[in-house]
Subunit: 337 residues, 4 copies
C-alpha cells in the first residue's frame, strides 16, 4: 500500500499515521518528495486489513493499493493458457468454438430445429435458457425443468454439448444434472453465493461480465470460482452499460486482449446481448475472431419476430449459417481452425 | 406500442408488418406522417408478447413502448404514500427516520457501543452486516449467524429495530428470524429469485438500487416484491456507477423526487456507500433531508480506521452525533419531525 | 510518481527503469515489498516530463501520480473562500444568490417580462442565451448581437446583472462588452482556447462541468482561467451523462462538498439542465441549498411550452416564485441569507 | 412526434393539448389504447418547433420523436458510400488506409524518422499534433506554427499526406494552409463554431467522437459539416468514457457497423486513444479491420518513453511495422487491399 500524506503535517500527526500502519501489520517506509510525503506500507495486502480506511483520516490525502487483488485467475500465477474440455470440444485451444441456440427454450420443435441447424452450420455447443432472469415479473420466466429436459434431448439427438443459465442457488443440483456448462448471467455476476455453489459442482462455468463491472471486479468474481477449487472457468463479455442508447449495451471487445494479458482463462464473446440488434451481430463476430476470442455465444431462433424473449437480437437459422460462412477467412487469418 | 416504419416501403412490405402485429394480438392503427409512417399497435403490452422483436425486421426503423411496465409500485395504482411500520417506527410518514450502525458486525463490544451511541443521537433502527458480499474472496465475509445473534441482543438491549443484509436464498429463513427489515444489496438488486424469496417472508424489504440500474428497472425489481404479495417495500439509493473516480459512487439524489413521483413506496438514502468518504456524508444527509427522503441509512463505527470493511466511509460515534445535530434545522425546514 | 515494477525482473531490467527515471529528472527511491518492488520517483511532477509513458514498458506494472495536478484553484493554495462581486451581488459570500431567466432570449417582451418577474421573486442576476450551442444545425441558434442588446436593456430596466453564454473565440469582445458574467457551456468546458480568451477579458467566468468531466479535469479547466490571471472563477454543476434515461442528465450534487473541499472558488448549481424536467427543479434547488451551494442558475420562461429551446426544463414565472418561496426555510437552515 | 397522455384526463384537459399541438403547426391524430391515449402529431419535425416542451405539462406522460434528426450525413439521403480523396489516397474505397505518426510533433529528427518509418511500413498519411489540447495548462501545448512547417517538410520529403488537429477558430487559416485533413478532437466535437469554420475551408474533416457523445449526436455534429457545404467528412471513433479504469477509454468498435448503416461517410478507428496502452493497439487494429473500418489512425513514436505527450499509448517504429505485417491477412479477409 502507498499512503500519501497531506502537506504540512506536524511530527505528531505524521507519527500517528505511522503507528496505525504498524498496528495493522505493515512496515512503513517513508519517502519525502517535493510537495508530498509518501509512505510505502510493506506487507501482504491480501493477509492484512486494508489501509484504505486511512483515507478518512485528516492527515491522509489518498491511499493506493500496489498488489493485484486476484491471484488464481492471473496469468502471473499460471502463465500458459488454460483449456476447458466440454464433451470433446476444447475451449481455449487452437480450434475456435461456437455456442449457438435460442435465447429461451420454448418448445421441442423450436429447440430441435435450431439445434440441427446450428450443428449443420458448424456450432459445437447448444445454448438455450430454461430459467430466464427477466426485468419485469410479468415477462416469460422460462420453461424450467421442462426446458432442461428438452436441452438434454437435443444433446442426445445432435451430440452438441449444452450451456444453460443458472440463476438460483436452489436450482444448482437440477441444472448441473443437465448442463455441460453453467452460465452465470450478467445480473448475477457478483452474486457470490451463487458463484460458490456453481463452482462446487465442478462443472465448467461461463461467467458473464456484469453490466457495470470493472475488469478487476470481473477477475475477482472469477477468483471465487477458482478459489472454490473449480479450474474450469471462462469469461464472457456481453456488453457493458454506457450512456449510448443506439445499442442495448456497448460490447467491449477490448476485453479480449486484456483478459488474455491478465488471465489464463478462455474468453468468450456474446455479440447478441452486446448489440441487442441482429443486424450488428455479424460484424461483431468478425471483430471478436480477429481480436483473439476463444469462442462465440450467439442467439439463434427459427423465427425471431415471434421469440418469447429478446427477439430483436436473435438471428435466424439462415442468418446464422451466413455468419458462420463469413467468419471462415477471419478464423484462418487469426491462425485458428 | 408504436412501430415506426422505414421510408419507401412497398404495400406488400407494409402489409407483412401489419399482419405480424395482428398475429401477436394487437390492433394496428396506421398514421401517415411527412417522412415516416407510424403504426400504433393497440393492446395491453403486459398481456401480449412485446413487439420489440419487430425492430429486427428490415421494414422497421424502431419500436417504442407506450405503457409503463410497472404497476403495483406505481403511484398511478396507489396515489397515497405508503408507510411501513417497523416495531413502531413508521417509515414514509411525517417522522424522519435514521438507520445507523456499522458496515459489518465485528464483535459484541463494537456493536453494543455503536447501538447505544446511535440511539442516544436519535437513530431508531440499527444497521449491521452479518453476511457481507465482498468483491474479493479473500476479504472478510461477515460473522454470519453469530452476527445475527449479536444484532438481536443489541435490539433487546436498546429497543432499536434491526436491518441487515440478505444475500443468499439459503439464508432466507435464518435472516428473517432475526431481522426486522431485510436489506437487498446493490449487487443483488436484480437477483430476482432472492427478491421473490425475501418477499415471501412478509418482512419489510429495503431494496438498494443496483450499480447501473435505470430507475425503470429499479421500480420493476420492486414490482417483484409487491407482485409476491409483500407491500412493505422501500427503495434505497446508494450511488450509481459513473466515470467519476473521486468518489466511490455518484449518489443520485434526484431519485428522491423521481421515486416520489412514480411510486408510493418510501425512499431511503445511503450516503455512506454513495460517497465512499466519511467527510462527504454530512452534506449528503442534508441534501437528502431537504429533497424529501423518508429516511437515511448511515454507516457508523467506533473506530473507522480499524473497521473490518469499508472503513473509509464509516463515520465515528462523535461524527454521527454531530451529523444528527446538524440535520435538525433541515428536518424542520422540510416539515418533518 | 510511484512506479510499480512487474515481479521477477532481472537486475539489468530493473536498472534500465532506474536509469530512465533519472534521465527524466527524478530521483528514484526503491522499496522492496512482499510481492512487488515499488519505486518512488522524487521530483516535481509539474516541472518534469510525466513518467506515465513508462507504463508501456514490459518491466512496469503501473505508474501512479502522487501530486495534485491543479494548483491555483486548490484550497491548499488559497485556504479562504473566494468571493466574486458582480455589480454588488457577492457570489460565494453569506448571501445566497439566484440567477434566473430564459434558456434563450427570444424577444423584448419575453425577456422583460421574465426579468421583472424573477427580480420580484428575489433573483439578483438575469440569465439568457444570445448564442446557443445546439446539437442539430437545424435548431434555433440564438438571436446573437440582438439578444445581447436586449439583455443590456433588461439590465438597465431592472438593475439585474447579466450572465450569458460565450461559445466562440470570435465573439469574445462582443459578448464581454455586454455580459457581467461569461458562461462557458458544458460542451466547451475543455475548449481550452476559449477558456484562455475568456479569462483574458477579466470578466467573471462561470465554468459548467462537461458532460463526462471528472472533477479533477474540471478543476484543471478552471486552472486555465486562474493561470491566465483571472481570479473570478465559479464552477457550475449542471448534470453529468450517465446510463440513466429518465432524466436528461444526472445532477451530481455531491460536487458541492467536493468543490468546497478541493477549491476556494464558489459553486453554482444548475438544476434545469441537470434534471431536464421542470417538475424536478424545486427539489433539486432545495438539495443544492442544503448542501452548501453558493448560487443557483434556473431557467424561467413566461410560457415554457412555446419556448424556442429546452421548453421541458424551464419553469413558469409563477413556478419560479413558488420555488423561491419554498427555498426560504432551507436558506435559513443553511445559515445563509 | 408521438405524445402520450396521462390516464384519466378530462375532455377539457385533453383538448388543451390538442390545441397547443395545432398551434405549434402539427396536425394531431388521436389513438385510444388500452391504458393510454396517444397522439400522433403529423408535420415535419425539422421545420416546426419541437413538441418536447409538452412533456412538462401535467396532462402529458411523455413525448417521443419519430424522425431522424440528421439528413445529409444519413445513408437514407445518400445510399452509396462516400469516398474522400486525399492527395491520391482514397478513404472509404477498396483500399484500406493507415494514418500514423507521433502524438505531438517534437522536432525535425523525431518527425522525419517517424515519417520515413511509417511510410516504409505502408502508411499513406502522416499524423502529428502541432497544437495540442491538454487537460492541464502546465503540460506541453504543441510547437504551433513551427510544428505545421515540420509537417509540410515531412510531406515534401515522403509524399505522405498530412493530418493534424485544429483546435481554435483563430488557427483555421493557418492550419488549413498546411494540413490535408483537419482533425477535430474529441473535446471539440460539439464546438459547433469550430466545426462550421473548419467546414468552410473545404478541406477534408476527420471528426472524432466526443468522450460521451451518443451516436446520434455525433451524426448531428457531422451534419454541421455537410450543412456548411463540405462533403468530405469522415467519422473517427477513439474510445468513449465509461466506468472502466483499466483502459483510458473504452474503444467502441460497434460504431463501425453502426456508422456504415446510418451514414455514407467513411469511418476511421483510433486505437491509440481508445486503449491508452500500446500493448492493446495491435488487437484493436485487427478488430477494426475485420469489422469494416475504412482506415486506422495510429500513434507512433521513435522513443515512446520520452514522448512529450501520451507516451503510454504510442507504439515504437518496430512495433508499428509489426502491426502492419500482422494486419495483412485480416485486410485480405475483409476483402480490402
Amino acid at each position: 500500500m502507498i499512503v500519501v500524506l497531506k502537506p504540512n503535517l506536524t511530527k505528531k500527526e505524521e507519527a500517528a499515521v505511522l503507528k496505525e500502519i504498524r498496528k495493522l501489520g505493515y512496515k512503513p517506509h517513508v519517502m519525502r518528495g517535493v510537495e508530498r510525503t509518501v509512505i510505502g506500507a510493506i506487507g501482504d495486502e491480501r493477509n492484512h486489513p486494508t489501509l484504505e480506511a486511512l483515507s478518512a483520516w485528516p492527515q491522509v490525502e489518498k491511499v493506493m493499493p500496489v498488489q493485484q487483488r486476484y491471484k488464481l485467475v492471473s496469468r502471473e500465477s499460471h502463465p500458459a493458457n488454460s483449456t476447458i474440455n466440454v464433451r470433446g470440444a476444447l475451449i481455449g485451444g487452437k480450434k475456435f468454438q461456437v455456442m449457438a441456440g435460442p435465447c429461451s427454450v420454448e418448445s421441442e420443435t423450436q429447440l430441435m430445429t435450431t439445434a440441427e441447424a446450428v450443428k449443420a452450420a458448424g456450432a459445437t455447443i447448444l445454448r438455450g435458457g430454461a430459467f430466464k432472469p427477466r426485468t419485469s415479473p410479468y415477462e416469460f420466466q422460462g420453461l424450467g425443468l421442462k426446458g432442461l429436459k428438452l436441452l438434454a434431448k437435443a444433446r442426445q439427438a445432435t451430440g452438441l454439448a449444452i450451456i444453460t443459465e443458472l440463476l438460483s442457488e436452489d436450482h444448482v443440483d437440477m441444472v448441473a444434472e443437465y448442463a455441460d456448462i453453467l452460465q452465470i448471467g450478467a445480473r448475477n455476476a457478483q452474486n457470490f453465493q451463487l458463484l460458490i455453489a456453481a463452482a462446487k459442482t465442478g462443472k465448467p462455468i461461463l461467467l458473464k461480465r456484469g453490466l457495470s463491472m470493472k475488469i478487476e471486479e470481473w477477475l475477482l468474481a472469477g477468483e471465487y470460482v477458482l478459489a472454490n477449487e473449480n479450474p474450469n472457468l471462462m469469461f464472457c463479455e456481453r456488453g457493458i452499460r454506457t450512456f449510448e442508447t443506439y445499442t442495448r449495451n456497448t460490447l467491449d471487445l477490448g476485453t479480449i486482449p486484456i483478459i488474455k494479458r491478465e488471465s489464463h482463462c478462455p474468453i468468450v464473446i456474446d455479440p447478441s446481448q452486446g448489440a441487442g440488434r441482429a443486424s450488428l451481430v455479424e460484424a461483431m463476430c468478425k471483430g471478436a475472431v480477429a481480436m483473439g476470442a476463444d469462442a462465440l455465444l450467439i442467439e439463434v431462433h427459427p423465427n425471431p419476430a415471434e421469440a418469447w424473449s429478446d427477439g430483436a437480437q436473435q438471428v435466424s437459422l439462415a442468418g446464422f449459417a451466413k455468419i458462420m460462412e463469413a467468419l471462415k477467412p477471419f478464423i484462418a487469418a487469426a491462425g485458428r481452425e
